[in-house]
Amino acid sequence: MAFEHRNLIDLREYSAEDIALILDTAERFRAINERRIKKVPVLKGYTVVNMFNEPSTRTRSSFEIAEKRLSCDTLNFGGTSTSTVKGESLDDTVATLASYKIDLIVVRDAHAGAPYKVAQKSGVSVIDAGDGKHQHPTQALLDLFSLRQAKGRIDGLHVGIVGDIGHSRVCGSLCPALKTMGARVTLIAPQTLLPADPATLGADAVTSDLDAALPELDAVYLLRIQQERLEGAPFPSLREYSMLYGMNRDRERLMKPDAILCHPGPLNRGVEIDAYLADHPERSVILDQVYAGVLVRMAALYLMLGGSEDGFAA
């Protein structure tokens, strides 16, 4: 099947077939990641820039590992060395990078819509690694991959997304993508943590009652309480948040026997999840999600750059 997307920014532009192709390709890369030598030359000669204008450890590491295993040449750009710190505009920074004749830019930025600007200005493919409160498509893809792996399917699953939905770029990508793949989605949060128009995300239901929703869910997706993004104190204390929306041993009893727990990380243990559930061998798929991150990022890079089949037939 042909993959015709130039950019990976808004998963709402991706059909169920497109998403399935990425997940299937990620599955093929799993075999490579299980080998002793985990590197294949499929993207040899391509240059990828990791432009991280906002702090990131996990997403950045995951992309770097994915790129290295595909044999891309990579340039890490950002952190305290960012030109934007020196007052250069994003447009000028991107124009400079584009002059190096690169092939793809991975962008993380604090401002919604920045990846579109980067794509437009650079003329090369762009993967959004998280932009403001807008989108985080590779996170959603790895979540879908983990769900499919744990439950055998996505279609027909009922997924509850709990927490800071209004400030979450993860939910901005995940909720529409789950709908595209045929899942049922319930958003669970106090109204202070909901976006202005939850229906826009495509959710089937919105509730503030986690306990009432839990028995119906096949997967509980906990969003991180991003203390750096919370303005205007949307709940009185972490203690009360945990009381109302935290997953713990008591609440586990309300879950279906085979329901799983997902979390994009990093965890706030004791806030949105307790240690018992975070490390639960059957329910928690949190570390599987991290591994899936490498696989789907390899798949996305491979498909967008149109890599060769070298080394695949092992």
Partner: protein
Amino acid sequence: MALLLRNARAVDPQAGLDEVCDILIRDGRIVEVGHDLAMAKGIERDLAGKVVVPGLVDLHVHLRDPGLEYKEDIESGSRAAAHGGFTDICCMPNTSPIIDTGALVEYVASKAARVGRCRVHVSGACTKGEQGDALAEMGDMAAHGAVAFTDDGRGVQDAGMMRRVMDYAVQFGKTVMSHCQDEGLVGKGQVNEGPVSTRLGLAGWPAAGEEVQIARDIELSALTGCPIHIQHLTTAHGIDLVRRGRQDGVKVTCEVTPHHMFLSEEDIDETYNTNLKVNPPLRSAADCEALIAAVADGTVDTIVTDHAPHADYEKAREFELAPFGMTGIETSVGLVVGNLVNPGIITWQRMVELMSVNPRRILGIEAVSIAPGSRADLTVIDPVLEWTVTEDQFASKARNSGFLGWKLTGRATDVYVGGYATMEDGVLTDEPMHL
């Protein structure tokens, strides 16, 4: 020097006039309006097919002078006004420094008299530095010719302070104009709160953030007796509040902009076009319809542009970092004539009330009529001229229009200020003026 304008359709509800006639002007005043007029010596202009109206007024313009001349200055901004068909503008005080003293009012007025290409009326700040915590010297500013007071761009946050502003301003007989934005509700809002803010991941600017202050200021006008003018009103409910206040006898007037009527939040898409980032934000399509209906039914007093020029590099930033505002003074007539007058939503008479008669009344400046004795401040409009909005034709220094690429119908072709042409056949003149 005499000037004879021939054969234009003259529209002026104040004079009960709507017919093709001639207008004879001498020494900056209209001396005769009638048919087949003649003069011994002077300039004669045949304006057949055009509409002539009392000079248009835009009472909400940012000239950015003093201090922000890289965006616009008094000369370029007033040239843009002339190019857009305006004889008079009222400039906002949120410059650098803020216009909050008589000396600064005097600076703008005197520079405008020297380099301006239209009459420039100055509004002063209500509070010192628009900080919202102490009264500005409104008496001194009034003495130097300020026509109104406003903390435009920010708004007065504290209700007690706003009450003091209105209680104090009432002695000068000037209108207090209110930029309604409750900072507690609006916060870092970027676009209208709703589906679009959710989809684009941008902080929402809720309609209630505007409406609570509209309601507050109408109450305070009733309390203090100070007339209140609601600036750039954008919501259907805001219109209802004004309507209700007026029924209760409150002296409340309001303005709307073309961009809030003809653009909606739905125009903001994944291109994150920063020219559509304005304050207050573009609202829902239903709000647009309500504004247009209120313009037609008389609830809205005046159409203004909130002309807000910015440098290209400022608008080229990320959406959340780009400044609020779009230009508008050169597209207003085309948008109003093409979208409201020509389709019959409003009459020419109503257009003249909205853009010429009412703003002069709100500012308390000399009325202009197409009648003997009146100042010869006139705007001539070609109502069927079709044109496309492009960046290269603006007289403004700025190009941040939200209407780039739009095909408009109707355009001002000639503008006379005190009998002097500032624009002829669509081309700005450099004729010296003695206002």
